[in-house]
Symmetry: C2
Subunit: 377 residues, 2 copies
Amino acid sequence: MAVDRSSKRMAPGVTLPRYAVIMAGGQGTRFWPRSRGRVPKQLLRISGRHTLLQATVRRLVPLCSWRHILVVCSAEHADEVRRQLPRVPVEHVLVEPIGRNTAPCIALAAEWIAERVGDAVMIVAPADHVIRDEEMLRQTLRVAAELATAHDSLVTLGIEPSRAETGYGYIEVGQRIDRRHSGSFWVKRFHEKPSLRLAHRYVAGGQHLWNSGIFVWKASVVRAAMQRYLPDVSTALAGVWSAARGERQRLRRAYGALPSVSVDIAVMQPVTAARRSPMRVAVVRARFDWNDVGSWGAMPEIWGCDAEGNAAVGTIVPVETTGAVVYSPDRLVALVGVKDMIVVDSPDALLICARDRAQDVRQVSEILKRRGLVRYL
Amino acid sequence: MAVDRSSKRMAPGVTLPRYAVIMAGGQGTRFWPRSRGRVPKQLLRISGRHTLLQATVRRLVPLCSWRHILVVCSAEHADEVRRQLPRVPVEHVLVEPIGRNTAPCIALAAEWIAERVGDAVMIVAPADHVIRDEEMLRQTLRVAAELATAHDSLVTLGIEPSRAETGYGYIEVGQRIDRRHSGSFWVKRFHEKPSLRLAHRYVAGGQHLWNSGIFVWKASVVRAAMQRYLPDVSTALAGVWSAARGERQRLRRAYGALPSVSVDIAVMQPVTAARRSPMRVAVVRARFDWNDVGSWGAMPEIWGCDAEGNAAVGTIVPVETTGAVVYSPDRLVALVGVKDMIVVDSPDALLICARDRAQDVRQVSEILKRRGLVRYL
């Protein structure tokens, strides 16, 4: 098993190298019309001077250097990813033939590390989060990395919830681990997106954290977990990175059969639920600001608002308008008698969306496909 | 008095020439961002292949030929008006130094006719109306022209109201004039914009018509009416078109002192109210479709709607959207969960406006002025 093999390779006590694995496979249909098939959200400059991908990498470089960054993305975005990250070694951009959610993506990176490095601490992070308090993030990740090695555990970062959000999964914390790792707990249970009533109870109770989707573990440990709980995937991907040529063909063959499943559901939840298991799931309570930029509705938190709750990138002229979210860097937008509306400008298409319908922007892409207006996708 | 002078000039029974006077002085701030200070509504292609001004002229040419078209506009628009109407003699574009509402505009044209033609039947029409049933319009105008000569009356066209509109003035019809002129009545009273309750009563009663702002009269008759009820204006404008040079200076001097007043309030209403008066006010009931294009809210009537009541120029993708009014000829507009919203696209600015606030688009221009964003005006 991977665990044994790697431990054979490393003398005990030798600290493992750290690798950051950036999951950049998203399509970002909820950010139409700014994000298109060819340019998904994580490749866009949505706030600040860096794209979300660039900002994510820069946050992690101090923990593991440019030479230990891995980016997993889909074939159609590989060139743009390399263009945005010239300091990341070309062969560190791992290209998925097709997107298959987070479990295969993580397995792919774990296999690469096993093949090319032996073992390492993997810091796994989505490419499309906005985190301002970078030092706090890195501090939390250092604690998580220590836990991951000290206890061979699968560590996730849990965000102190700031509101009763129904769009996130929640982590119920269990027993505290030890004094050395403050804010660290064994995970009692994972909860899927809750009802509003339940979300309020979670926030009030103080025993639940948002599931950030940021993970830390040893490659060997996550591979072992996959072999146990997701054997199809580990078997399919075993050896895809072997030195032998024809890697691309091997990848395409392997991915054809892979299930599209998240690491939370396929690995974290069963490991947590398991009575006896060689590995356990831990959570580190994170206190940094965190925004998963799930949709345009999340932007006011990032951009800030005026007194009427209007948030904008670009010049706006609001007249008796409240709660507007406007992204229009190039053209002036005047709003008259508008309430809680999202307005997104782009060179060839425009979006007007009720704020409480931000998730449904996906539907637009589907309709465009059906109507054959593919140039807008 | 003008009446006498003209009747001296013309042998009785000789039919007068017909002149169409197009009032093109509007600024159209309610049509921002498509209409700007430099390009007001009437100079825009809002529906069909002609601008509102071009369409207005073309509707009237069959009644009085290109050589009998007069257009009154402000100095800043004169060049564009001449560009849009190459077949109108250059000297037939009468330039107002400043806009002073309809009374001075009409007086100016009447003086021109008195000076250059002697007398004529004036068909006065705003440049920014949309009328599809052109033949019916001309038929109505022929009846009005006959009335204007037969009775030396000031004739207005009254539109059969199709709804309880509170944005228009109403004309209360009185006694029917005679058999020869079907649908012709002496005017009992003019009513300003009514309350909704009153508007409903007007429509139900069948004795009230919309005041179209389209008038027919002899130049000599309207000049006589102005001399009696608006002496300052007639005195100020007397002789501005005299053959002597320095016409522009005379105009500027004259306009400096002119009141900004509408012909309805300054002439039609007092003439109607007057006990004894050499001239009377008549109305011809018009049955053609008529839209004064007062604001973007009026466009669905002109463009037509889909089943959800969405009206658009350009490609739209509505998702659970109703009552949207979209003008975006160049870019696709997707709407998600939007209700009764006006969306107007333009190269450098964008308007999002609640439909029941269409009148308040004016405020945007004021704010732009205050904020020094004049390039958007």
